[in-house]
C-alpha cells in the first residue's frame, strides 16, 4: 500500500504507468446461450496515466458495465482488462464512486471515512490528519459528527467521493455520480471533482449521459454506441483548464461548440 501522500506528481504516475487502463478486445455478455445479451464490445481502449476520460452514451449503451469491468466487479466474457499492468481487483486497483452515495447509515460522516482509511491500511495514528484532509478536499469541513441521513444529497455524494479517495488508488472511477443532483449542486461538484483530480493527477474514468458534463470535465471523451457498446467517437479535449475560471469556461464559444459536437455524436450513436 502506498503511503498516504497526496503529492504524487503527474510525472511519477506516468513513469510507473500507475492508474493506466488498457482494454483489449473486451466483450461482456449477460446470461448464456440464446438469451445472452451482449452489453459491451468489442471495445479496444487505452487510458494513459493521468488522463481524465469521460465515457458518454445514451442509457443502456453499456457504459456502466464497462466501468464495472474496469473496477473488477465483472469479468469480461472475452478479451482482457488491465489496470496499472495487472488484472483489476475491487478495492485494490481503483476508487469507485457510484450513482448513489451508498454510504453506511449506521456510521457518521467521520465513521464512513474512517472505515475507508482502515480498509486502505492507513496507520490509525494518521487518521485524524487524513480525515481532515479528505473532507477538506470535498468541502465538507465540520460535518464529521453528522449522521449521513441528516446531510443533503450533494453532501452525501461528497462524502462518497472523499471515501473513494481515501485509499489513494491511482485510478478513480465515477459512474454517473451527479445524475440525481440538482443543476446547481451538480455544477459545483463538477468543479470540485476537476480540482481534486487536477491536483493529484490521478487517472479518472467518468461515466455520464450529459454532453455538457463530459466537455467540462474530460481531457478526452469517448462516445459509445447503443447495445452492444462500442467506441463511436474518440475525442481529445484541449480546452484551457488551469488558467480560466469555471464560469468563463462554460460560457466560452469553444465550450459550446464542443458540447454541440458531442451531443450530436451521442444522438447519432444512440440511433445507429
Amino acid at each position: 500500500m502506498p503511503s498516504h501522500e497526496l503529492t504524487a506528481s503527474r510525472d511519477e504516475a506516468d513513469a510507473a504507468g500507475a492508474g493506466a487502463v488498457r482494454l483489449d478486445h473486451v466483450t461482456h455478455r449477460y446470461g448464456r446461450g440464446g438469451e445472452a445479451l451482449t452489453a459491451v464490445g468489442p471495445v479496444d481502449l487505452t487510458v494513459p496515466a493521468g488522463e481524465f476520460l469521460v465515457l458518454v452514451g445514451a442509457s443502456g449503451c453499456g457504459k456502466s458495465t464497462l466501468l464495472r469491468l474496469i473496477a473488477g466487479f465483472e469479468q469480461p466474457t472475452h478479451g482482457s482488462v488491465r489496470v496499472s499492468g495487472t488484472g483489476p481487483r475491487p478495492g485494490r486497483t481503483a476508487g469507485v464512486v457510484f450513482q448513489t452515495p451508498r454510504l453506511f447509515p449506521w456510521r457518521t460522516v467521520r465513521g464512513n471515512i474512517d472505515l475507508a482509511l482502515r480498509y486502505a491500511g492507513v496507520d490509525r495514528a494518521l487518521w485524524p490528519r487524513c480525515r481532515a484532509e479528505l473532507l477538506g478536499r470535498v468541502g465538507l469541513e465540520g460535518t464529521e459528527k453528522r449522521r449521513v441521513w441528516e446531510i443533503s444529497g450533494g453532501q452525501q455524494q461528497r462524502v462518497a467521493i472523499a471515501r473513494a479517495l481515501a485509499a489513494e488508488n491511482p485510478l478513480l472511477l465515477l459512474d454517473e455520480p451527479f445524475a440525481a443532483l440538482d443543476a446547481l449542486t451538480r455544477e459545483r461538484l463538477q468543479e470540485d471533482v476537476r480540482r481534486v483530480t487536477d491536483r493529484t493527477g490521478r487517472t479518472t474514468v467518468f461515466v455520464t449521459h450529459s454532453a455538457d458534463e463530459a466537455v467540462f470535465l474530460g481531457s478526452r471523451i469517448v462516445v459509445l454506441t447503443r447495445s452492444p457498446g462500442t467506441v463511436a467517437l474518440d475525442l481529445p479535449i484541449t480546452l484551457p483548464r488551469g488558467d480560466i475560471g469555471a464560469e468563463e469556461l462554460r460560457g466560452s464559444p469553444e465550450f459550446a461548440e464542443l458540447r454541440t459536437h458531442v451531443s450530436h455524436a451521442v444522438k447519432a450513436a444512440a440511433a445507429a
Binding site: P90, V96, F98, R102, F104, W106, Y119, A120, A164, A166
Partner: protein
C-alpha cells in the same frame, strides 16, 4: 389476564411514533403528556371499579372472583414476612420473580445467541437455510407445553428442563428474523465496502451485521415475549420457587388472590421489560428505516 395490560398498551405504539427524531415543544409537552396518560389511566380505574362491583354483587363466590382488596392483601402477604411466615412458600414475591427472570435470562439468552448464529449462517448460505428452515418453522409452531413433557423425561425436574424450554421457545423468532435480515442486506452496500478494499470478513462485520441489526433486535424482543409467555409452562413441574411455579401451586389450593397476584406480576414485569428492550433498540439502531 389481558385486561390488566390494556391500560399501558395504547401508550406503546404512540410513544414509538412520537419520540424520534424531533421533540415536541417544551411548552405543550406537559399538557400533551397528561392527555396521553388520561385514557389508559381512566380505563384502569374503570376496570377496578367494575371488578369491585362484580365481586360485591355476590354473583360468584369469593374463590372465583375475589374483590380487589383481597388480592391487594395477598400481594402484601406474599411480598413480606408476616407472623413468621415469609412470602409464599418461604419465598417473597420479588424473589420468586427474580428466580424466574434468571431462568429467562439464561434460557432466553442461550436461545437468542443460537438464533443469531443460525440466522447469520442461514442468511449467508442458501443451502443451510434450505436445510434448517423447515425444522425451525416446525419448532416455531409447537406450543412449549407440547415438548415440555419430553424435556422432563430427558432432563429431569430441576433447572435443566425449564431453561431448555425457554431456550427452545426463544430460538425460532430470532433465527427467522436474523435470517431474513441477513438475506436482505443491500447488495449495493456490500459492493461499496468491497470497492473500498474491505475483505470478506470486513464486509460481514461492517456491513452485514449492522445492516441486519434492526430486524434482529425486533426478533430478540419477540423472543423475550415468547419466553415470557412460556414461563408458567416452564415452571409447571417443580417450579417453586419461581413466579410461574407460585401461580401453579396457588391454583392447586384454589388460592385465587395469589394466582391473580402472580398473573399481574408477570404481566407488568413483561411490559416493563418490553419497554426497556424497545428503548435499547432505539438507542442501538438510530438508523432504522433510513438505510
Amino acid at each position: 389476564m389481558s385486561t390488566t395490560s390494556r391500560p399501558s398498551r395504547p401508550d406503546a405504539p404512540a410513544a414509538r411514533a412520537d419520540v424520534p427524531p424531533e421533540r415536541p415543544l417544551p411548552a405543550g409537552r406537559t399538557w400533551a403528556r397528561v392527555r396521553h396518560a388520561a385514557l389508559p389511566l381512566g380505563s384502569l380505574l374503570l376496570f377496578l371499579v367494575a371488578w369491585q362491583l362484580l365481586a360485591a354483587s355476590g354473583t360468584w363466590s369469593d374463590t372465583l372472583v375475589p374483590p380487589p382488596a383481597k388480592v391487594w392483601d395477598a400481594f402484601v402477604t406474599v411480598s413480606t414476612t408476616r407472623d413468621g411466615v415469609r412470602g409464599y412458600n418461604g419465598t417473597t414475591l420479588v424473589e420468586h420473580l427474580g428466580i424466574s427472570l434468571r431462568r429467562i435470562a439464561i434460557g432466553g439468552g442461550i436461545g437468542i445467541a443460537l438464533g443469531v448464529l443460525f440466522g447469520l449462517l442461514m442468511g449467508t448460505v442458501g443451502r443451510l437455510r434450505a436445510l434448517f428452515e423447515p425444522w425451525i418453522t416446525f419448532l416455531r409452531t409447537l406450543p412449549p407445553l407440547a415438548y415440555f413433557s419430553l424435556l422432563v423425561i430427558w432432563l429431569g425436574i430441576n433447572e435443566e428442563p425449564k431453561v431448555t424450554l425457554l431456550a427452545v421457545a426463544a430460538f425460532p423468532p430470532v433465527a427467522v428474523s436474523t435470517t431474513t435480515a441477513v438475506a436482505a442486506v443491500p447488495k449495493s452496500l456490500i459492493e461499496a465496502a468491497r470497492a473500498l478494499g474491505g475483505s470478506r470478513w470486513d464486509v460481514v462485520r461492517d456491513v452485514v451485521v449492522p445492516s441486519a441489526l434492526p430486524e434482529t433486535l425486533t426478533g430478540v424482543r419477540l423472543a423475550v415475549g415468547v419466553a415470557y409467555s412460556s414461563l408458567v409452562a416452564a415452571e409447571l413441574v417443580n417450579g417453586l420457587p419461581g413466579i410461574g411455579g407460585m401461580v401453579k401451586d396457588a391454583a392447586n389450593y384454589n388460592n385465587t388472590p395469589v394466582v391473580l397476584v402472580g398473573i399481574f406480576t408477570i404481566g407488568v414485569s413483561g411490559l416493563i421489560i418490553d419497554g426497556l428492550l424497545l428503548r435499547l433498540e432505539r438507542a442501538v439502531v438510530p438508523w432504522r428505516g433510513r438505510a
